[in-house]
């Protein structure tokens, strides 16, 4: 089975109820696009010159915090989701 045929969404279990836990401060963003490159789930996008996080990120995010770490402009705010919610790694 080739990697492009994996059903990625079926490969992560999660408990809903995270609330918002990532946000972007557009005024601080310098458009470097590092968040777009580093996000394994491609949850960061660009429209025109504006960088944004997809609306349904709460149900797709891996909570890796790579976007937050990579943003030198400190435009990305990140806090782990509410305790007991979010991804559940069963074979980590």
């Amino acid at each position: 089975m080739r990697a492009q045929d994996f059903n990625l969404e079926g490969l992560t279990k999660r408990i809903p109820g995270t609330g918002d836990f990532i946000s972007i401060d557009i005024d601080k963003c310098n458009g470097c696009e590092r968040c777009i490159i580093i996000c394994m789930k491609a949850l960061w996008k660009k429209k025109g010159s504006k960088i944004y996080l997809v609306d349904d990120y709460q149900t797709k995010c891996l909570e890796c915090a790579a976007c937050y770490q990579v943003c030198d402009a400190n435009a990305i705010k990140f806090q782990y989701p509410v305790g007991g919610t979010g991804i559940v790694i069963e074979q980590g």
Partner: protein, 465 residues
Amino acid sequence: MKEYDIVIVGGGPGGSTAAKEAAEKGLKTIFFERGRKPGEKNSSGCGLGPRIWREFDIMKELTPDKCPSIREGKAARNYFVNKNDIVAGYVMTRPTESVTYEPAKSWITMNIYRSEFDPWIAKFATDAGAELKTSTLIVDLLKEDGKVIGVVDEKGEKYKGFVIGADGVISMVARQSGLRKKWAHDQVTMCPQYDFSAPPEKIDDIMGDEALAVWWTSTCPASYQVFFHDGFHQGLGNWLSWWDASPLYYLNRIINLKYYQRLLRILEAKPRELQGHLLPWISYPYNTHTENVILIGDAGGFSCPLEAEGIYPAMVTGRIAVEVAADAITAGDTSRTALDIFDEKWKKTSVGEDFEDGEELSKIWQALPFSPQETMSWFVPMFMEAIGGIYDWSQPHSKRIRQIAGHIKMYFPKALPFIMKYVFPLVAKIFENELDKMMDPKQLMAVLPKLLQMLPQKKKKRGEK
């Protein structure tokens, strides 16, 4: 506000070790985990190193009946993949004759899922009397006159006590205590990882006791494969400063290697989970403590500078942090200077010894398996020429050896600067030599011509006068 002697943020191997040691000393201890149970937010390779068995008695109790995912990594396979995505060769290794103690003589790593290991180790802490609060995110530090005196959870509940930051790579404790805002791009790696399921008997039959593999490739960062009882991980990593495309793009390239596809097929492997995790990888830990606060494990950047083994260092620093905190509490002085002894103590351990050569070790690793295009693209063919060129019936053998030697010489312009820049400094450091002496042109000239003379030359024919 609830009062404790020791408040630990994080229920990973570091936090649990600290909690166990603190409770055993009779200290009133609480540790927090944001997951519903320890381990459910964590992803590692995950191989445990034998130094843990040497230094932590509890490891004798880690058996398959308690943690069924265990598989001993008795042997490791190293695949070398060239720039055309072909497996050019592989080398299998197991613990060598110079290894000095058990269980290191028997296996390289003990492989186990974190979802089993983390709760197992946390139970020693709760059995010893530490309180574990799960499903609880710690969001801030409690401060008084600018000084940290405890922590605050997401519901606003306050817990007072000496704070141990065992909260991993994205450490709230490090940030809020002012010890570290964020890692720099060259201090932290991003690791995408798949877990595959596979029937245990297939793994036994096909892999035998080769329960580890590293795929050294010329197009992707080195990728590791770790086998468990009924499945395996395939992952890779590189510093944040490196990526030019999604980490998943590179991992998928490994999965799509023809050789790998065959392996998936015969192992009857199926993708089971996708994980992404950061891992700090620095040359030397710094800013490890401040008044009333100590950082341990990933929060302090303690994973091994060469291969980023991080569980053992988390456990060692967890144990030492508690020793230091207990003494400081008894003495009534938990100031930053009083806690400097934490650094003195970890530096004297096996973890500290690794960091003695941290700069050189992490540099060579960065320059070799993590620089696929720049280095592995010539390293793989050069290495394979050396070990693989011999088994070849295309020419008389002496002619083949001359061909091989001539071809390897072709890589010298790339290999020699690499050796001068990365290998010599490391060798000098390890053997406590002065680099200047090793690089002394006079000494080099004394050996180099001799080495060149040793290259095969045309010899007289047998029977010729």
